[in-house]
């Protein structure tokens, strides 16, 4: 068929469409994605960028649009990594073992808020929060219990920990030592992304400058001692949860990534020394095709940045490796079983987008932490996609879809506009300090709420197709006496540990923090001597001060 024939047929189609529209209008005046990319009724070869080699290329090759491995899931499936943790270290260890028995392939630890903000369980600031949104970890002793019976040389562990990431990583290394697993053999990830805490998640402790120092100290330490460890998981997930669009998620995440790269270079590290261990974390949201496009666009953007702007030579430095979690904020408290369907579609989009690991949310997460049964269904959702749907049998199956390629180009173009704006503001750290991303996200969140309330945006079971009587599902309850139990455990620990060694190592840490040396070795020493997270973070608070939100 010649181009002329094609143009002729296209015109004919358009004419027929116009005749139809005159008779019956479409469901909406305008169709658009979450990022306000207008969706046309039809995409044709004209929408595909003609530079296949430059922009799409081959999987496992620069610019990685089609994936970071040459054969993707034909070789190895993504890591099924369910985020879990509640109550005590014993209870969470039990849940970990259950998930591994059920076929999960990696661990992901949820810590409670006091742990995430560097308070001991008996600190007045921890009142009511102990063990609520994750497991309570006060010292190495709790970490030993948490990881009991889990072979750290075989299982990789992701830890959602940011401001005190150095402390939890040190605890993990120390547990490895006790198991006889050398640090060089440990594999896993710490989130360690402080910028998105200021932007969207709220578990910051220190101001940006010392926080960035902690992060680059971890980069340097791990490059030397824990080479398989992903030293950061640069997160768009929470930015999206706070209300951003897909485009903002890509743009702000990559802007944060640039800030970390710049900070590490400024600290004297070589790009190819730390960049291979940078990883990313995205949200799996509702707009199916835009989500797939988002992953592909982000891979291409990161590869180009690393190669062209920063001159990275090691292909591993160019690869945007990403963990995905389905979008918690898309779940409804109404008719919670509907959430199973939402999660399925979101997980499928992440898989078609080429994610390296995946957490699927449980149906009851708009109400509480998941019960064992809900967590199992969420894991089964991944397994059904992996083993029954056939989508894993070929690489990047939607490449060449006129629509998906068009969206990939659009997401990239619009994200680049944001990146330029952030550059003008002086980079991500300056933009965060000025509240720029926070304001952009809030505007979008309010807009979404307005659309939901006006019915323009439909949420099944919530603002349409509601039920008169909502049955109340069984929910997980965290032991309300846990705060007291953790306090007793802490008292016992303080009575039996070598308190002189604790004081000494804390004093060394203080001296290191006041100077410029790498903090990781001092933190590791404190941890080995059973100093608590509150004591360690207390010293750092003294020296660094605390961040106050803009």
């Amino acid at each position: 068929m010649t181009t002329k024939d094609c143009t002729e047929l296209y015109r004919k189609w358009q004419q027929e469409l116009n005749e139809r529209l005159a008779k019956s209008p479409e469901r909406k005046k305008q169709f658009a994605t979450s990022s306000d990319i207008v969706v046309d009724p039809l995409y044709t070869p004209d929408n595909i960028d003609q530079h296949y080699m430059d922009n799409i290329g081959f999987p496992g090759q620069y610019p990685y649009t089609r994936g970071v491995q040459p054969n993707m899931y034909r070789g190895r499936l993504w890591t099924m990594r369910q985020y879990a943790g509640f109550g005590s270290a014993e209870e969470t260890n039990k849940r970990f073992r259950y998930l591994l028995e059920q076929g999960q392939t990696g661990l992901s630890v949820a810590f409670d808020l006091p742990t995430q903000i560097g308070y001991d369980s008996d600190d007045p600031m921890a009142a009511g929060e102990v063990g609520k949104v994750g497991v309570a970890i006060d010292s190495l002793e709790d970490m030993e219990v948490l990881l009991e019976g889990i072979p750290l040389d075989k299982v990789s562990t992701s830890m959602t920990i940011n401001a005190p990431a150095s402390v939890l990583l040190a605890m993990y290394i120390a547990v490895g030592e006790k198991q006889g697993v050398p640090a060089a053999k440990l594999s896993g990830t710490i989130q360690n992304d402080i910028l998105k805490e200021y932007i969207a998640r709220g578990t910051y402790i220190f101001p940006p400058k010392p926080s960035m120092r902690l992060i680059t100290d971890i980069f340097a330490y791990c490059a030397e001692h824990v080479p398989k460890w992903n030293t950061i998981s640069i997160s768009g997930y929470h930015i999206r949860e706070a209300g951003s669009t897909a485009v903002q998620e890509v743009a702000f995440t990559i802007a944060d990534g640039i800030a970390y790269v710049e900070a590490a270079l400024k600290a004297g590290l070589d790009i190819d020394q730390f960049a291979p261990q940078l990883s990313f974390f995205f949200n799996g949201h509702n707009h199916f095709f835009e989500e797939i496009a988002k992953f592909r666009a982000a891979r291409r953007m990161w590869a180009r940045l690393m190669k062209e702007r920063y001159g990275a030579k090691n292909p591993k430095s160019w690869q945007f490796r990403v963990h995905t979690q389905t979008g918690g904020s898309t779940l409804t408290a109404q008719q919670p079983d509907n959430n199973i369907v939402r999660v399925t579609l979101q997980a499928l989009a992440a898989v078609l987008g080429g994610t390296q690991s995946l957490h699927t949310n449980s149906r009851d997460e708009a109400l509480a932490l998941p019960t064992e049964e809900s967590a199992r269904i969420a894991l089964r959702t991944q397994q059904i996609i992996a083993f029954e749907s056939g989508v894993t049998d070929t690489v990047d199956p939607l490449a060449g879809s006129y629509f998906v390629e068009y969206l990939t180009d659009q997401v990239e173009a619009k994200a680049l506009e944001y990146l330029e704006k952030i550059e003008q503001l002086g980079g991500a750290v300056a933009a965060v300090e000025a509240g720029y991303m926070q304001r952009e996200i809030h505007k979008q969140a309010y807009e979404t709420q307005r659309k939901i309330e006006s019915g323009e945006e439909k949420v099944v079971g919530m603002n349409c197709f509601q039920l008169e009587h909502e049955p109340q599902p069984e929910l997980l309850r965290v032991d309300p006496t846990l705060g007291r139990k953790q306090k007793e455990r802490l008292d016992a620990l303080r009575a039996k540990r070598n308190n002189q060694a604790v004081e000494q190592t804390l004093a060394q840490l203080r001296a290191a923090a006041e100077g410029t040396e790498n903090l990781m070795p001092s933190i590791l020493e404190c941890v080995r001597n059973y100093a608590t997270i509150g004591e360690i973070c207390g010293v750092l608070r003294d020296v660094f001060g605390e961040y106050r939100a803009v």
């Binding site: 998640r201 709220g202 706070a242 708009a366 509480a368 969140a445 709420q449 929910l475």
Partner: protein
């Protein structure tokens, strides 16, 4: 200057998720309220202190971490301790249905769970803020009239004119209320006898339900629109939110009997009253 409801939106505990708190804060501002947001990680003591210092009518607590059962009641306790228990406290966040009865028992007036339209929250706050707002309006100047429901003007009038000797000023039919009225002068006020003009008029229904007798008391007021607005903002239930035409060219509006223990009050503003009185100033 109209009085606006003041709300403190607060994040107790360590939870860093403030999308909901920020959206609600913005929505309440768009609803005409003054909103103060505390920011993250506030202790109950800090929240209570801020509420008193900011002189708010309502506190909205948001918590998604599951610590609500410990933190919300503590805020209530501290406010009571400091004699500020007239502040309305509402909550929201990830809160299971089964926890709501306990929270209400502890003094949280209402809990808005995920999916609640912001308008619902705003309306609830408007209707339930308890504090007496310093009134900007002067008190009503006098009783304009007392309305008495009668089955028949003809049958009722002789008692008032012949036995009491009250002068009959005239009669009028008010279409909007489907009522025929006879006016009798008494000092600076009046008695209004109200006869239903149709079987399904409000007066007919009143007589059917409660028999003949005192139906309502009307106050002579100025600035009727501002007054109604203020009453509405203070959560007083109204039958008419905006004035409508009454007898003698007056603008009138009825408050709901729920507002005053079953007594039906009417506000009346007469045309000559506007501007003839001194403007009520306030310091």
């Amino acid at each position: 200057m109209e009085q606006r409801i003041r709300v403190l939106v607060a994040k107790p505990g360590l939870d860093g998720h403030d999308r909901g708190a920020l959206v609600v804060a913005q929505a309440l501002r768009d609803e005409g309220m003054e909103v103060v947001y505390t920011g993250l990680r506030q202790t109950p003591a800090q929240i209570a202190a801020a509420a008193i210092q900011e002189d708010v009518d309502c506190i909205g607590l948001s918590c998604l971490s599951g610590a609500h059962n410990e933190l919300f009641p503590e805020v209530v306790r501290l406010l009571r301790e400091q004699g500020a228990d007239d502040i309305l406290i509402v909550g929201g966040g990830v809160i299971p249905q089964e926890d709501i009865p306990f929270l209400k028992e502890q003094g949280i007036a209402e809990v808005f769970t995920p999916g609640t339209p912001t308008r619902v929250t705003a309306d609830y706050i408007r209707a339930h803020v308890k504090r007496k707002r310093m009134t900007l309006q002067t008190a009503p100047s006098k009783i304009a009239h007392i309305g008495i429901a009668v089955k028949s003007l003809e049958a009722a009038l002789p008692f008032y004119t012949q036995q009491l000797g009250l002068p009959l000023i005239g009669t009028e039919e008010v279409e909007s209320e489907q009522v025929r009225i006879a006016f009798l002068q008494i000092g600076e006020s009046r008695i209004e006898l109200l006869e239903p003009a149709s079987a399904d008029s409000p007066i007919a229904k009143f007589i059917e339900k409660r028999g003949e007798g005192i139906h309502h008391i009307a106050f002579d007021v100025d600035h009727i629109e501002d007054r109604l607005q203020q009453l509405k903002e203070n959560g007083i239930p109204l039958i008419h939110e905006t004035p409508k035409p009454g007898a003698h060219g007056a603008s009138i509006a009825f408050l709901h009997p729920k507002a005053a223990g079953g007594v039906l009050f009417e506000l009346c503003q007469y045309p000559q009253a506007e501007g003839s009185k001194e403007e009520s100033g306030h310091e």
